[in-house]
Subunit: 319 residues, 2 copies
Amino acid sequence: MGEFELIRNFFAAAPCAQGGEGVVLGIGDDCALLSVPSGEQLAISTDTLVAGVHFADPCDPFLLGQRSLAVAASDLAAMGATPLAFTLALTLPTVEADWLQAYARGLNHMAQRCDLRLIGGDTTRGPLCLTLTVFGRVPAGLALTRNGAQPGDLLCVGGELGNAAGALPLVLGQCSAEPAIAEPLLAHYWSPQPQLALGQALRGKATAALDISDGLLADCGHIAAVSRVGLRIENHRVPTSAALQTFLGAAQAQQAALSGGDDYVLAFTLPAAELPTLQAEGWPVHVIGRVVEGQGVGLVDEQGRDITPAIRGYQHFRA
Amino acid sequence: MGEFELIRNFFAAAPCAQGGEGVVLGIGDDCALLSVPSGEQLAISTDTLVAGVHFADPCDPFLLGQRSLAVAASDLAAMGATPLAFTLALTLPTVEADWLQAYARGLNHMAQRCDLRLIGGDTTRGPLCLTLTVFGRVPAGLALTRNGAQPGDLLCVGGELGNAAGALPLVLGQCSAEPAIAEPLLAHYWSPQPQLALGQALRGKATAALDISDGLLADCGHIAAVSRVGLRIENHRVPTSAALQTFLGAAQAQQAALSGGDDYVLAFTLPAAELPTLQAEGWPVHVIGRVVEGQGVGLVDEQGRDITPAIRGYQHFRA
């Protein structure tokens, strides 16, 4: 038995690969088989992480295991989908048992948190690269798309922004910070919490949604373009964490919240009438602006003055 | 707009990304959405191809486009699934418009042949690597698994074997051959024909099935192990092409058919009573042996003498 067949067996024996709702057939045959309840649709998203581009190489394989699945699962949250399963295509330069075990532990940890089962994939030799495809189910017609924001809707986010962008210099070892600051920022970077429950709560309520991966302004631009509306963001209402403010100062923290990537927090548009119930139920809904007639994304200060910067989302690589 | 966003738009505009049966939402949102008819299950398979490991680098991008999808679609054939859709995770070192256009043409060509729609994926910068995930549908309970071969069943394959392995020295430029020989062999390598229709015809008939990707003997070993039976292959009944026999000579051609990889021809076990109907309907069913009590894979010659070699499947990489 070759090394790579051993790896397949290793993942097949992982806790996150043991059956689960909707999984008819898991790892080991030519295909996996999923069942989707009648009246529901299957939501599918694929994310690739390349060593040296999307994460530092080397990095902690446990944290990478967590992060690689969280990033993909966040797309299920953005559609309001109930998590079902995922596949892992893992390309590795060498087979190192310690690395694999730590990676699988991180993956299992996040899979358990997200209620996702590993049902298949591929293991190949080559430069370190991970492609995860996640599957969820959503009642027909209730998926949260980017297309549906209406003038008058509130623009909301599901939590504080900018933490992951703030963490990046810490991740890259370019600077350090005391634990009270570094720990919450690094936790956001390495172990983002896909807002799966919030996404499901927004079904039938939010008119458009996505998860913020390229930065608030850039991602809001996607909603504006697809929904053919304008979005007006009130700068002072964009929530940032105390740790980020202390670490970067208020102005830089705000910049990170507007343009930083990797937040994996939901942004969504909501008829105002839906807000009280969601807030009463305790969902983290932060109103940061409005949907307006027009196009594009505008940023205003507390006095309503236009302070829109040249909008540029985070690009994973600049040529 | 960054280069990689342009690539996403380019693929979204490709012919193979335009709607289709079961595709509720294609490229452009956080997730794609598929609908699966009531009473059917979703079959899912993922394959990664790494430059320099699974294909020569550089290689013809049109041929790579065909081959990358065919290899993945063959797993749908092996389950008896009806093709629905696929995702493409493409990691590229540089963005070259000519390369991308040729790759997309090859992909479109095979997608049309296999009736598969591109519904999403990811595009990232890094060492050239492709991960394709394919989706099909199959009536609940009728998927062809590897687990179900019964002693007494016939062991069959869906066509000639060894052509792709025979083509490999031509692909690598290690030798040449006259067009009448080289062309059919190279066609098998670069443009395998996933046996999707045959797979669907075998639903409810074959007791076990897979597609031969690691070599006949190695892959039959998977059926034997999972079904807990033995397989007895009659060497002289394993079909090989005239081109392969001329190119390699009879003995080497037979070796390529037994142990060569990348055939993407179906191997399956079949109750003898099912054979006449399938043959009458014109399906390519070649009986090459029997399922027997016991375990493992044995090879016998025309006189019934055991000539089983040390079985070793093709490994993509040997450490």
